[in-house]
Amino acid sequence: MVLTNTRYSLMELMICAAASQLEDNQTAVIGTGAPLAAAMLAQKTTAPNLVILFEAGAMAPILERLPISVSGSETQTHALVHGSMDEVMEACQRGLVDYTFLGGAQIDQYGNLNSTMIGSDYRRPKVRLPGSGGANDLASLCWKTMATMQHDIRRFVPKVDFITSPGYLSGPGAREAAGLPPGTGPYKVISTLGVMGFDPESKRMQVESLHPGVTKQDIRAATGFELLFAAEVMVTPEPTEQQLEILRTQVDPDGMILGKPERQKRG
């Protein structure tokens, strides 16, 4: 797909879309990359009191620099707690954490995520990926799980090669049957083509908004399973000048995230 504007990059659009999902006075365990840029943007705009937690142990920091690692010095600046991973994960398990943001190599219609391996045989992976890290924990324990994904047919698949982190598994009731905490599960997927939610009944992925210039045909063609569409499919709001300004000058002045490939897509 092609964005026809030159004002912002696709990555910037996605980050702003992600930021708009984070409410003020809520807790969120965030990983590095676009989600963290989104959380920092939210903190500097709509959610000044968003409590950011890092799985490695930093709680409620005031971020000065975009972290490279979820455990690095940048995650600990002015933190209220220099804790441990078990403390953060136990807070998630106790029910204290509202949001988490994940990514993955593959996702299916129920929001199941794969970040472990590509191939049909676990013992002989075509591609060995990192594994769960904290992703499975956060997808299991946080109230609302969000994912940012490159949207194409190899990533949005009918069946992921390996369920690293649970979405709605095989569908309605499956999480609860597996013993996962009731009321949790995938909430939003912010892809390079649109913003998806999940149908309350069927738990299947449902398009809520398409990015400017993206058609239903585009997104269908880039998805390996049947997508649902909300009664009213919106256009993803474009970044405001203020958002872009803060993003480029305060959140990621070095272009760690904004400088990545997606930015080339501009124009």
């Binding site: 142990g57 930093a58 991973m85 594994g131 769960s132 013993g179």
Partner: protein, 330 residues
């Protein structure tokens, strides 16, 4: 416990025994004497890490990890080591480079967070020479905690319903009070824990500044514990402010004084990571031959970690990394 119809039956291999009574016997005989445990990294690796041992690293991949000990393990061609791949990045890169491990509990390996994937790490893990069992970060971390608490397992609500569970060595259990389905993660007692700290005394009392990740539990769970430290301090520093005692001496077997011991990683409050050198690693890994030369240059052909520091960074760069560090002591 009997598993229910249609439930996932984990098939993963359990590499270390979670038997608490055997572990108790070991800890019963571990000395509580306050003796001078200072030694060099080569001495510590020779004394406490043996082929076939199961090892675990503290820190978080490229943050507060014990680079010097990992280089020594590779330099001395240790083999058939078991490894706990708990949120590992550059530490795993080093061990994979040396092909020193043949079994691995995996929560996070091969990946380098924002830095992408390790090409050599991938080749190594795709070669089929390493037996693997899957976990999540919390699941594997709670395995240390179970060992630290002296119980054979801890219940948890993670991994349930996933293939991560299927290829783990966890067990599904039922809560005796509410009937809630839970995962039981088995206690993990590494043969050797390897942790880098900010300050330590000669007996092993150790101070970690900033987040501790899973190191406090790892230190308790490890049968033998090697501590590398940026600075040596008097015991009185700990007695004056026990909040500094992250690890008490009776858990520690070796204290190695290694300034910049987390290089090229980040040491909070001390120095930032050397992103240039870390990028150099990933680049070198892309071609096997080139990488072999890279390893000779930086590990096999150098006598010790200090030489590596000079080769890879040098005083000026190290000073620069200090200035790049964002956390300042108050």
């Amino acid at each position: 416990m009997i598993e229910m119809e249609g439930e996932i039956q984990p098939v993963g291999e359990l590499f270390q025994s979670p038997d608490v009574n055997t572990a108790r016997e070991f800890f019963r005989n571990k000395s509580r004497a306050m003796t001078d445990k200072r030694m060099s990294v080569p001495e510590a690796v020779a004394a406490f890490i043996h082929d076939g041992d199961y090892i675990a690293t503290g820190g978080f991949g490229s943050v507060r990890f014990s680079s010097a000990v990992l280089h020594e393990i590779v330099r001395t061609h240790k083999h058939n080591l078991g490894f706990s791949g708990h949120s590992t990045t550059h530490d795993f890169q080093i061990l994979a480079a040396g092909k020193v491990i043949d079994r691995c509990d995996i929560a996070y390996v091969v990946g380098l967070e924002l830095r992408g994937l390790s090409p050599n790490g991938r080749r190594f893990m795709e070669s089929g020479t390493v037996r693997t069992t899957e976990w999540s970060n919390a699941g594997l971390g709670w395995r240390y905690k179970a060992a630290a608490m002296g119980v054979p397992f801890l219940p948890a609500r993670v991994m349930l319903g996933s293939d991560t569970l299927r290829y783990s060595a966890g067990r599904l259990i039922t809560d005796p009070f509410t009937g809630q389905k839970l995962l039981a993660v088995p206690a993990l007692y590494p043969d050797v824990g390897i942790i880098h700290v900010h300050q330590a005394d000669i007996y092993g009392n150790s101070q970690i500044d900033g987040i501790s990740i899973v190191d406090l539990d790892l230190a308790k769970a490890s049968k033998r514990l090697i501590v590398t430290t940026e600075r040596l301090v008097e015991t009185d520093e700990f007695r004056r402010d026990p909040r500094k005692t992250s690890i008490p001496y009776w858990q520690v077997d070796a204290v190695c004084h290694v300034p910049y011991g987390s290089y090229p990683g980040n040491m909070p409050f001390e120095y930032f990571s050397d992103e240039q050198h870390l990028t150099e690693w990933v680049k070198a890994e892309q071609d096997e031959e080139c990488f072999a030369g890279f390893l000779d240059h930086y590990i096999y052909d150098v006598p010790d970690f200090e030489t590596y520091l000079r080769l890879a960074a040098g005083e000026e760069r190290l000073a620069e990394l200090r200035s790049l560090e964002i956390l300042k002591r108050t």
